[in-house]
């Protein structure tokens, strides 16, 4: 399987404040990587570096085997879709208009979206099952609805790699499950997905791989059962956790 996202000896952070170093990653179609780590552990910094929004401090990022550093922004946008951490939008665009913005990298500098772009946006809206929201204003959506709309915008980009920064943060239980279900479904369709979360249990539910960012830059990476252990979680979060089995599922239980 072709590698879609690769990091080689990646150092990320800022010149005076390195956040992490020596990270190696390789993600192919169908892979779901769950990034775990405490607040301020560098998850968003890593994502911004992977997307070329922040220059790497060492090493390199490759998209589809090509160096990200040399890639024009439009080219990056056609390969990698980004759903940033949820925040309230400023202007009352409709969901349809917001999803259409995902087409930017396919539209000329002075042009407006054409029929093909409108079709792609409609397909993305239907793929997420949010057709009934299309004419609603993004400012009036609930957190869960907004998250689905933002994922639809990333799909409209035509990218096969999706980077989701805490997509389940501040969502209610039902919406968290819905977002995780979408992640699994997209991976089954051949997308590669990277997402971050505060709930280690979500890695067992939706991820094929886990990257644990612990304080001091120590990194662990591997299949969920190898990485999500009481010892590793104690190192990362400083609390006691039990990992139990329910049927063939594993769950994380904090010990209070």
């Amino acid at each position: 399987m072709a590698v879609m996202l690769e990091a080689r000896g990646l150092g990320y952070g800022y010149p005076q404040r390195p956040v992490g170093r020596d990270l190696d990653l390789a993600l192919a179609a169908g892979d779901v990587l769950c990034v775990l780590g405490p607040n301020g552990g560098g998850k968003t910094t890593l994502f911004r570096t992977l997307l070329g929004l922040l220059p790497p401090q060492a090493g390199a990022v490759l998209l589809d085997g090509q160096a990200l550093a040399a890639m024009p922004r439009g080219e990056v946008a056609r390969r990698a879709g980004y759903v940033p951490q949820g925040h309230a939008p400023q202007f009352a665009f409709t969901v349809r208009e917001a999803v259409l913005m995902g087409r930017t990298s396919h539209i000329g500098l002075f042009a407006a979206p054409g029929a093909a772009d409108r079709d792609a946006a409609e397909r993305a809206i239907r793929a997420l099952g949010i057709g009934e929201l299309a004419e609603r204003l993004v400012t009036e959506l609930s957190g869960g609805e907004r998250q689905l709309a933002m994922i639809a915008r990333a799909l409209a980009q035509g990218a096969r790699l999706l980077v989701l920064d805490e997509p389940t943060a501040s969502l209610d239980f039902g919406n968290q499950v819905r977002v995780l279900r979408e992640i699994r479904r997209l991976a089954a369709e051949g997308y590669a997905v990277v997402f971050s979360t505060h709930d280690p249990g979500q890695a067992f539910l939706a991820a094929s791989r886990v990257l644990l960012l612990a304080p001091g830059g120590a990194l662990r990476q591997g299949a969920p059962p190898e990485v999500i252990t009481p010892e590793n979680l104690r190192t990362a979060y400083g609390v006691e956790v039990r990992v139990a089995a329910v049927g063939d599922m594993r769950v994380c239980l904090p010990a209070l």
Binding site: A77, H87, T94, E97, F110
Partner: protein
């Protein structure tokens, strides 16, 4: 476009046409609508209707340039305000932000202070506006550790204040019988003394500013997202922002060069237009320009008819603008999100 948006456009355009005819008819020398129609027919088709010669002078030499100027300045200020608001992701900003107006005013006041010709005064306004933006942009770009938008806005406020105190100094030093009234007149804004030549000088700059805004009309929407989001969608945010700042500043400076400082238009009109047709820039910009032209024409017509002396239009826009701004402030939650 939704039926509602189409209706809004039809109403705005009709209002503008009715208002323009009305503005030609009223004033110190009232004109019958019949004479007005005859004059238009004469001018356009050489129809040869008999009309009083005074009417022709009033329409062509006095009211014509003034009405055209009101339309141009209103549309330019509203377009610039729409661009600034979209770009700074804040519906409460206006061309006064970034020190554009203060810079243009300083340039003009310098011209008056050194008793230069009208042409030099206008060019001074122009250069001052562009200089202010350049300084603000340089300051904003050099403080790298802050949110770029906040840095720009704060730099704009600081530079604007500095220019304001320099204007204060020039007023203090100016000849109180000759220059001071001229400076005050300029700072309050007025369309009373507009000559066709002023229009011919400033209009190309306004158009030059409008063209990039029109061409970038869809991409402008992306500037309403966070920088990271827009860049991840494939936009070169920094370059796009420079292009839009230059275009909007060109339009503001052109407007100030014609009319002096007329505040509030660039704040009120884009906001009202957004309430009517939503934030989508390619739908918003033309409506904003239509309403801006209509609003300033209405204000200017009022300013020359409600009292025996002319009321400066800047005073009227402030009287209308202040309550609107406060209302906006109180109810902003819904509309500015």
């Amino acid at each position: 476009m939704s039926p509602r948006a189409v209706l809004t456009y039809v109403l705005a355009l009709s209002a503008l046409l009715v208002l323009t005819a009305f503005a030609f008819a009223v004033g110190r020398f009232p004109l019958a609508l019949g004479d007005l129609a005859a004059l238009v027919a004469n001018q356009l088709f050489g129809a040869g209707y008999a009309i009083p010669p005074t009417a022709e002078t009033v329409v062509l030499q006095v009211r014509g340039p003034r009405i055209l100027a009101a339309l141009l300045v209103g549309a330019a200020l509203a377009a610039a305000g729409t661009a600034y608001q979209g770009m700074f992701r804040n519906p409460l900003v206006s061309p006064d932000l970034l020190g554009v107006s203060a810079g243009a005013a300083l340039g003009a006041v310098l011209g008056i202070f050194f008793s230069q010709s009208v042409l030099v005064i206008q060019l001074g306004a122009f250069a001052g506006g562009l200089l202010a933006v350049a300084v603000v942009y340089a300051v904003g770009a050099s403080v790298r550790r802050h949110d770029p938008i906040l840095a720009l806005i704060l730099a704009g406020i600081v530079i604007g204040t500095l220019f304001g105190s320099l204007i204060g100094l020039l007023k203090y030093l100016a000849d109180p019988y000759n220059q001071l009234p001229a400076i005050t007149f300029w700072l309050l804004g007025s369309l009373a003394a507009v000559a066709p030549r002023d229009l011919a000088l400033a209009a190309p700059f306004a158009v030059a500013g409008l063209v990039p805004l029109y061409l970038l009309r869809w991409r402008m929407n992306l500037l309403s997202l966070s920088d990271d989001e827009a860049r991840a969608l494939g936009v070169s945010v920094a370059r796009l922002r420079i292009a839009v700042v230059c275009a909007a500043t060109l339009m503001t400076a052109a407007a100030v060069a014609i009319s002096g400082i007329i505040g509030w238009v660039g704040l009120l009109i884009p906001h009202a237009s957004r309430l009517l047709v939503g934030p989508e820039f390619s739908r918003l910009l033309p409506l904003s320009m239509l309403l801006g032209a209509a609003f300033l024409l209405a204000v200017d017509t009022l300013s020359r008819t409600i009292a025996p002396i002319e009321v400066p239009p800047g005073v009227l826009t402030a009287l209308i603008g202040t309550p609107f701004f406060l209302w906006l402030f109180a109810t902003a939650r819904r509309s500015w999100q």
